[in-house]
C-alpha cells in the first residue's frame, strides 16, 4: 500500500492546479457554469431512461418538479398517423437554459430524449420520437436551475413501440 500511495499526492496537486486554471478561465464568462445536475451531466442517465412513470423519470433526471410555463413552446402534431415517427420540437424564450428533455407519458419508458444545451447554443431542438399510443408529450426545460414544462396530447393511430 505504501508503494502505491506515494505518487498520489503529487498527481492530485497537479490536477488541482489544472482545475484552478480552468476555473479562472471560466470566471471571465458572463455567468459561470453551475455545477452540472443530472441532465446537464456528461454521464448517460441510465436509470432515468428505465422508469415507466413520467413523474418518476423527471425526478430521477432532475431531482425536482416542473411548473407549467407558457414560455415553453412544444410543437407536435395533433394527429400522428405513424407513431413510429412523430416530429416534435421545443423552443423557449427562457434565459439560461441548460437542458431540454422530452417525455411521452404512456410509452413503455416515459423519458424519450434529454438534450444538454451548453452556453452559446440556442434553446431549441427538433427531433422525431416513437409513441406507443395516444398520450401526452411533455417538454421539460431546465433554465437557471428551475424546471418549466409544456404538455400536448398527440393522437396516434398506429403505435410505434411494437405490440
Amino acid at each position: 500500500m505504501t508503494m502505491t500511495t506515494g505518487p498520489h499526492p503529487t498527481r492530485r496537486l497537479i490536477l488541482q492546479g489544472a482545475a484552478g486554471v480552468a476555473l479562472l478561465g471560466l470566471g471571465n464568462l458572463p455567468f459561470g457554469s453551475q455545477p452540472a445536475r443530472a441532465a446537464a451531466n456528461d454521464k448517460y442517465p441510465e436509470e432515468a431512461f428505465k422508469l415507466k412513470n413520467e413523474a418518476d423519470a423527471i425526478k430521477a433526471l432532475y431531482g425536482k418538479t416542473a411548473e407549467p410555463s407558457d414560455k415553453v413552446k412544444l410543437d407536435a402534431p395533433e394527429i400522428a398517423e405513424n407513431g413510429g415517427v412523430v416530429p416534435i420540437s421545443v423552443t423557449t424564450t427562457l434565459d439560461k437554459v441548460t437542458s431540454i428533455s422530452l417525455f411521452v407519458a404512456e410509452n413503455p419508458n416515459a423519458l424519450a430524449a434529454s438534450y444538454r444545451i451548453p452556453e452559446g447554443t440556442l434553446p431549441s431542438v427538433a427531433n422525431r420520437l416513437k409513441m406507443a399510443k395516444t398520450t401526452n408529450v411533455t417538454a421539460i426545460v431546465e433554465a437557471d436551475g428551475k424546471l418549466y414544462s409544456a404538455t400536448k396530447e398527440v393522437k396516434v393511430t398506429v403505435g410505434g413501440c411494437g405490440g
Binding site: P45, S89, A113, S114, Y115, G120, V125, A126, L129, G163
Partner: protein, 103 residues
C-alpha cells in the same frame, strides 16, 4: 463503409444551424421479428456535437427516438469553414464519428 452520419451545418450571421440524420435501427427491444423472436434493444444512447474544442450540443437518447434519428439545433460562435465533429455511441458499444465543414 460510408459514415452513418449525415450532417448539414449552415452559418448565417453568428448562428449556425445544424441538421443531422443518422442511420441506426433504434430497436426498442419490444418488437418481434417474423419468427416471433424478440429483437434485442439496440439504440443510440449518446450523440455529441463539438465545435472549436467545445461541446455545442449533447443528446442522451432512449429507445423512444425514431429509427434513423433526426435532430436539429442551432448554436452561436462558429463561422463558415469551421469544423463540426459529430459522434455517437449506442448501447452495444458501437460508435461512429464524422466531421463536417460549416457552410
Amino acid at each position: 463503409m460510408a459514415s452513418s452520419i449525415r450532417v448539414r451545418a449552415t452559418a448565417s450571421g453568428d448562428i449556425t444551424e445544424v441538421q443531422a440524420l443518422i442511420q441506426h435501427p433504434m430497436d426498442t427491444g419490444l418488437v418481434k421479428d417474423s419468427k416471433g423472436e424478440v429483437i434485442p434493444a439496440h439504440y443510440i444512447q449518446k450523440l455529441k456535437f463539438e465545435c472549436n474544442g467545445k461541446d455545442v450540443f449533447v443528446a442522451n437518447w432512449g429507445t423512444a427516438v425514431s429509427k434513423d434519428p433526426y435532430v436539429k439545433f442551432s448554436f452561436k460562435g462558429a463561422k463558415k469553414g469551421d469544423e463540426l465533429k459529430i459522434s455517437w455511441t449506442d448501447n452495444k458499444g458501437a460508435s461512429d464519428t464524422t466531421t463536417a465543414k460549416i457552410a
